[in-house]
């Protein structure tokens, strides 16, 4: 039985797609057969972050509408043999997603032997987002340390626990909190919410804090999930987060300001 992990946030631009790509790649690296699906129909991004944009022929919607088979639409990652990608359609809109259609695809993916199905949810609380949430077993809530993002995350958690399939059947979706774009220096100066503040407001178990990092933009532009960049702080933080998601206990890194040496202060900060 495959486990459905939905990466969601409510607010846009907080790092859902980057996190989806990193989590999916991390799960695949850990030896689990994983597929990542872009639910942002009409505004596809995941294929760019994964570096497969030139290989998209069929997509999620063409499988739902029966124009293509699932095997035709699945794109095998060239770096990780356990990882596949199902891109979103650029030409259709989110109404193309039906509950029955999405449910059938998830069942077929499970039959194909995938252990984890990572759903990259679009922003907002409309159809695409609720579809991505509907079948979730686990939800990774991506939040920036900033009040409006935290409030939207709270809202999406409410929807998750009332409208998801599990909630309707009387169960509960497992919740995990991932804080992205964290800047410990700005937290110390009181310009940003601390991770404790965010956890206090949302009351969800924290699985990781991803520091604000140049490596993230670099990874997006080159189409390599940032988790594969083992020299970057963000990549290491994502690795830790995936390990915690899988039940490992690791200390938080990059959450206290780094002591800057004289040289780096003169030359300007590193990564």
């Amino acid at each position: 039985m495959a486990t459905v992990v939905t990466v969601t946030s409510g607010k846009g631009g907080v790092g859902k797609t980057t996190s989806s790509a990193a989590i999916a790649a991390g799960l695949a690296q850990a030896g689990h057969r994983t597929v990542v699906i872009d639910f942002d129909v009409g505004l596809r991004n995941l294929d760019l972050i994964m570096g497969v944009e030139r290989r998209v022929v069929f997509d999620f919607v063409s499988v739902i509408s029966g124009e293509a088979t699932l095997n035709q639409a699945l794109i095998q990652d060239k770096r990780l043999e356990n990882l596949s990608i199902l891109a979103a359609s650029q030409t259709k809109d989110k109404d193309a997603l039906t509950e029955a259609g999405v449910g059938q695809i998830l069942d077929e993916l499970a039959e194909l032997g995938f252990e984890y199905i990572v759903c990259d949810s679009p922003a907002g609380i409309e159809r695409g987002a609720t579809m991505a949430l509907h079948f979730a077993d686990h939800a990774v809530i991506v939040t920036n340390p900033e009040v409006s993002s935290v409030r939207d995350s709270d809202r999406i958690l409410g929807i998750l626990q009332s409208k998801s399939k599990r909630a309707k059947e009387g169960g509960k979706v497992h919740e995990h909190l991932l804080i992205t774009r964290y800047d410990p220096v700005r937290v110390e100066n009181g310009e940003m919410l601390s991770k404790e503040d965010v956890c206090d407001i949302l009351a969800v178990k924290l699985i990781g804090v991803i520091p604000e990092s140049k490596a993230v933009l670099r990874a997006s532009n080159t189409g390599v999930p940032v988790i594969l960049d083992k020299d970057s702080d963000a990549g290491l933080a994502y690795s830790d987060s995936v390990a915690r998601f899988l039940g490992e206990d690791r200390p938080m890194q990059f959450v206290i300001p780094r002591k800057q040496g004289l040289l780096s202060r003169i030359l300007g900060g590193g990564d």
Binding site: R151, D154, R155, L157, G158, I159, Q161, I201, L202, A203
Partner: protein
Amino acid sequence: MVKVPRIRANRYSLMTLEWPRESEPLAHWLKAQREKAPLLMDEIAIVLKPAPEHQPEEIRSAVEALDRLDIGLMGLTGSSQHRVVAHDLGLAWLSSNHGWIESQLSHETVASQSLETALIMEGPIRSGVQIYAKDRDLIVIGQVSQGAEIMADGHVHVYGRCRGRVAAGVGGQVSAEIFCLTFEPELVSLAGTYCGSDQIPEELWSARVRVGLDETSQKLTFGLMG
């Protein structure tokens, strides 16, 4: 569905005006009170309780004085010889042992319905979620997030941090109260009287707080618990 009238036992709080025999003239005293607190006597319902020694004529002129001052007199209470006076003046007679009758009535009411216990919800109650406990109390175990709305016709208890909007006595039950372990609400409302977080006394923020309604002033009262 056919709707039928029905009689229900209800409790109302009425102000009782106690009028001792040797006091200054009632009209005079009331005028002075109204000047001190102009809003106090507006639209309040009063029951007059004369002393046993008061003569029917004195009561009659007091009632007229209240009428001239536009004070809504509901009826008379006190010693039973004044019952006839109330009848003559067309006023209701509120028997002084009405408490006993009322409790008899309410026992019957309780017995005839099945008892509805409080609605218990496990938190966190998230932003955008609305909970309404109709005709009963609401208990929330855990936190209530900012942007969530919890409401009950009865009392509301929050065993956790409350940052959302809380309303008790939604159906107009003025005796409903709010109890909260960590009080940081956006808005509190009791029987339609509400106040925003900026009007909550600062020293009560994040404290264990009980909110009630003072019916006379129609203002919310905040107090610390325990």
